[in-house]
Structure formats: structure tokens, C-alpha cells
Symmetry: C2
Subunit: 145 residues, 2 copies
DNA sequence: CTCAGTGCAAAGGATTTGCATGCCG
DNA sequence: CGGCATGCAAATCCTTTGCACTGAG
């Protein structure tokens, strides 16, 4: 999705929940678009020194409620944020168990579709209403091997 | 795996890292065995009032290092713990996006094997050394529907 | 006896919030 | 103008840690 389309979509999504697409929020979305994967608060602060931490936290929460960003939690105790799949497309994460770095990857649609069906079946058995799935591959990244 | 086998295995795993299987640790493992899925610290405290929080935190960290338990992070900011797959078998999680409840489920081995291969392929392309995968299904649980 | 494990209370660190100020609609 | 967003600093909450005590070998 192109940058301007992202902005348009985000504007609409925020409007849905009676929120404005302010300057801070635009800068935040722009930072998230630059990454190869979800960013930590620290990374966002470093990437854009004009934004104070509190504004980042507050706006990420609002953007999360609006469905614009997704919070990704790893085991290192730091929250990470990325644009939702609605904006970036469906993808998964490679998570390095050594340095906790996270990068995106995709599977081909055939596998995804098989997986979807299997998950739907398992959900039905459990009386669970299925939504999105989340698939991460743990291991060791190129730099840590 | 039966309860006594679990204890034997845990004893061995702890021994590997020069740790003893103390009373507190036994109680902790017992609590984790009762759940239908990963438990939060609060749930563990409530389930066994004899254990102070600090002991729970400390021993869960030791058990994690020994490979006996796994930390599961959801988006609600609470860590959850479960016995590792070595003790319980490979499984996945249903996560309710409304109440953050987590329960276990499994997929049949055919799907798992297809998935493994696909993940291995994606990892190779990224120069990533693949390990375990983590698959969660988000949605709404029976109680929240 | 000795040393790891325990329990309490205090410290640490990521995240949230109160309040005065500034800015967009 | 009016109200929401912002920025700073203080507060909050989960988690970790220091220290003296206890219990297993």
C-alpha cells in the first residue's frame, strides 16, 4: 500500500472512533512504516526525537484501539508496535531468541489457506469464535548465528 | 505424560543446570499442571497461597532457564507460564481478545508437518536458523461471545 | 555445619496519568 | 472561542533484588 493510501486509510480508521489524525500520530505512523518489523518504544523515540515518550505511548494506545497498529509482545519485556495487517498485508515474524530482534516474513497463500481451515476447525470444537492468527518462528537470526 | 514422569523429567532437567527440585518448585509445577492453559502470576498466587510472589517469580525464572516452563506473553501486560512442550506435547493457544483468557489446542500432525516445511523454507531465505514455532488463534471465547 | 533456597520489604523499570499549556477545528 | 492533543513530571504496577533467616544434605 502506498504511503498516501496508508494516510487516507488511517484517517478513516481514526475517524471511525472519533479521533483526529494529528501531527504526532502522522509522525508515529511514518516511523512505523520505515521498519523491517515491529519497533520498540525506544526505537521510536530514537527515530523521531521530536516526540516525547508520553505522547508516543498515548498515541500508540489510541492507534491500537483504532485498529491502526498492533502491539507485538516478545519475551524481553519490551512492547513492540507495527501497522496492522490491514495496512501492510498478512505476515509473520521471525524472532531471534538470542537478541530478540523481530523481522517480518510471509508464507505462500496455499499454506495460509490450509492453515486457516485447520484453525477454523479447531476453534469450532472449542466453541471459540476465530479471528486473526499469529504465527511466529523462533530461532537465531543471521547476526547471532 | 503422567504426573510422576513429569516430576522425574523435571528433576533431571533441573539437575542439568545444577538446581534442586525443591518443595516450592514442586508446588509451582503442580499448579501449572492443573491449568487448561498458561497461568498468570496472580492465578498462581491464588491457586497456592503458601507461595509468596517473590518465590514464584524467582523460581519461574529458574524453571524457565532449565527449560521446564515457558513464558507466554499476551497483549494485556501479564506474563503467563506453562510447562514446556517437552513435558506437555506440542500445542497452540486460543487467545480471547476480549478477556485475554488463554486455552490450549492442537492441530493434526499432517498440518503441523506441512507448516514446519513451509517455515523452514522461509527461514532459509532469511538466513535464519529455525527453532520452535508459535501459533496463536485470536478471537472470542465461549464465555465472551 | 554449610550453602542454596526462602520470605519480606524495598528498589527498579516500563508504562500510565494529572494537570497546565498550546493548537486545531 | 472550546475542546482535544501535548509535554512535563509524578504516580502506578509488574517484576526484580538485597538481606537476614531457614532447612536440606
Amino acid at each position: 500500500m502506498s504511503a498516501t493510501n496508508v494516510d487516507d486509510t488511517v484517517t478513516a480508521m481514526l475517524h471511525q472512533v472519533d479521533q483526529r489524525y494529528t501531527t504526532s500520530r502522522r509522525r508515529l505512523v511514518a516511523s512505523l512504516q520505515t521498519g523491517e518489523g515491529p519497533l520498540t518504544i525506544t526505537q521510536i523515540v530514537d527515530a523521531d526525537e521530536t516526540l516525547p515518550q508520553s505522547t508516543i505511548y498515548r498515541n500508540l494506545n489510541i492507534l491500537e484501539e483504532a485498529g491502526v497498529v498492533t502491539r507485538v509482545t516478545t519475551s524481553d519485556g519490551f512492547s513492540r508496535y507495527e501497522l496492522t495487517e490491514e495496512l501492510t498485508g498478512h505476515h509473520h515474524h521471525l524472532i531471534c531468541t538470542n537478541c530478540d530482534m523481530v523481522t517480518d516474513f510471509t508464507l505462500d497463500t496455499g499454506i495460509e489457506s490450509v492453515l486457516e481451515k485447520a484453525l477454523a476447525g479447531a476453534a469450532r470444537k472449542a466453541g471459540f469464535q476465530p479471528g486473526a492468527h499469529r504465527l511466529d518462528l523462533l530461532g537465531t537470526c543471521k547476526a547471532c548465528r
